[in-house]
Amino acid sequence: MDRRVKITLLLAPALLVVGVLFAGGLSAAVVQSLGYLPAIGMTEPNLDAYREVLGSRDFVDSLLLTVYVAGASTAISTVLAVLAALALRNSAGRLSAAVFQLPITIPHLVAAVGIALVVSQTGLGARLAAALGLIGEPSEFPALLYDRYSVGVILTYVWKEVPFIALVVLAALRGVAGELEEVARTLGANRWQRFWYVVFPTIAPGVVAASLIVFAFTFGAFEVPYLLGQTYPTILPVTAYNEYRSIDLSSRPAAMAINVLIALITALFAAAYLRLGRGLGRG
């Protein structure tokens, strides 16, 4: 069989699934965001929805909140993950590896519920504070759920993503970074010099790539902020969903416009990630 035909046939099912259900859906979203919805009598393509969305205070608030939540979750997770990896690099225990990987497979929803029961005003944290005499009433415990700073949301993301980034870092540390560090030692580099000149530059591309994935994910994820986030402003995917569910069908284009913007922003991060990945492969 011709090689090209063979490769095409092998790829066809996957391309079909992604092409029809994902790219097709995304294209439909773009079309609808342009105000083309024949089913409800909208047949004139226009940019009204984008004008409306980009000009609204709600959208700007949403966008800022989304960038804040994704940025804070990513930054905190990355720093903690690097520290955790450095601390764990020498312990080869199977059990610790297993425990550490647990958050990776646990659904976000479970993590969110668990975190909520720890940090809510009647949660474990508040009970502990009461036992220590720090607070008397639940309302004296700081509100960490449905709050302005999205503390519960960020904590859930941090719990989920730290092990993910840390394992990427750990793999690099136990592999080539560890070997290069030994070389640096025999060449006279002290602990700090080794980290700064050798280990950090070696693991940095992996750390950046993992952080990009985490940022793209937390930027577009729905469940955790929907459950633990405040009611206004909401992060972009929740805003889009709320618009979408609105009884007024004419707000469909606005919902779709927000969706398209989310897709564009996350696709940019995806492209950056893949570019970096290819660069790594070459190096």
Binding site: V176, E179, L180, R185, T186, L187, G188, A189
Partner: protein, 349 residues
């Protein structure tokens, strides 16, 4: 700057039943190149890492220049190491890699640049200073790694199978380069290898390690001429072994009574002689034999000889000797080439 290295009673255990290294004792003179030779997994790399300080020994002592370095971290031992993989820092240029050790020691930039240049010249890599390691061939990378270790003028140079990742055609050139650079700089060097030819060509002395123990420590020719045991003789390619009974300096064997120049211990012994030492001529220690096999090797011909009493010997002769299977010959085992192994009684045969 080169220093004497003394290793005493070194034992290292990774936690398994058998220690990776047990009771290794040897000393390396200033400027000497010692090969740690042994099959893979014999503990030689472990020994090197303990000397470098990358592993700490379970027992024993390591002294560099007469002082114990046990509590000294690797970065302050002055023992630069070259690994099997070049392990160049991928994010630095060649110059950055070679200058690394100088930078760590706070050598001023101008001075460092000159030293890097000289080090690159010594390993015959010039004009590559600005390149990233990824743009170099495997052989060039390994030279840069060598320059990176040399530039700091280490008290000890530790080489861990630096040639084994290279293509065969590059290996010889790199071998010459290492020898030359080592002689020039008078570096005390420990070279780990599993290749006995490499060890013989490079080393002033060879330390043969198997099963985590030192089996023999001597000059290369001793491993051919005076091996301590049958195992060592076999490791160095010996194939002729003859059982016999030593009496008054002579040994009674199925081939008759043979005279040895090196005295044999009384009792049961195993005699060995290298195939290239066997002569086809009459005289002392001669006997008749019959050719049973011929293998042409280009630079020599290997003959299998059947001797009376069911003894087989191998003789390596110059390629111009033309004998055929079945030919009757007279063979001689020169007294100065026969060597008696004391462990004859332990290998029945």
């Amino acid at each position: 700057m080169s220093a004497r290295l003394e290793i005493e009673g070194l034992t290292h255990s990774y936690g398994g039943d058998e220690p990776a290294l047990s009771e290794l004792t040897l000393s390396v003179e200033p400027g000497e190149l010692v090969a740690l030779l042994g099959p893979s997994g014999c503990g030689k790399t472990t020994a090197l890492k303990v000397v470098a300080g990358l592993l700490s020994p379970t027992h024993g002592d390591v002294r560099i220049g007469g002082e114990s370095v046990l509590g000294v971290p690797p970065e302050r031992r002055g023992a630069a190491m070259v690994f099997q993989k070049s392990l160049l820092f991928p994010h630095m240029t060649v110059e950055g890699n070679v200058g690394f050790g100088l930078r760590m020691r706070g050598v001023p930039r101008g001075e460092a640049r000159g030293r890097v240049e000289r080090a690159l010249k010594r390993v015959r890599i010039e004009g590559f200073a600005g390149r990233k390691p990824g743009a170099l061939s495997g052989g060039q990378q390994q030279r840069v790694a060598l320059a990176r270790a040399l530039v700091t003028e280490p008290r000890l140079l530790l080489l861990d199978e630096p040639l084994s990742a290279l293509d065969a055609n590059l290996r010889e050139g790199m071998r010459e380069l290492i020898k030359e650079v080592q002689r020039e700089g008078d570096h005390t060097t420990v070279f780990v290898t599993h290749d006995q030819e490499e060890a013989v060509v490079l080393a002033d002395r060879i330390a043969l390690v198997t099963g985590g123990r030192l089996r023999m420590y001597d000059h290369p020719e001793a491993f051919y001429e005076r091996p301590l045991s049958r195992e060592i003789a076999e490791f160095f390619g010996a194939t002729n072994f003859l059982r016999g009974q030593a009496r008054n300096g002579c040994v009674e064997t199925p081939l008759g009574t043979l005279r040895l120049e090196h005295p044999a211990p009384p009792g049961e012994v195993t005699l060995t002689i290298r195939p290239e030492a066997v002569r086809l001529e009459g005289g002392e220690n001669s006997f008749s034999a019959r050719v049973r096999g011929v293998t042409y090797l280009g630079t020599q011909v290997l003959y299998g000889l059947d001797v009376s009493g069911g003894v087989h010997l191998r003789a390596a002769l110059p390629p111009h000797t033309r004998l055929a299977v079945g030919d009757e010959v007279t063979a001689r085992l020169p007294a100065e080439s026969l060597w008696a192994l004391a462990d004859g009684e332990t290998t029945p045969g």
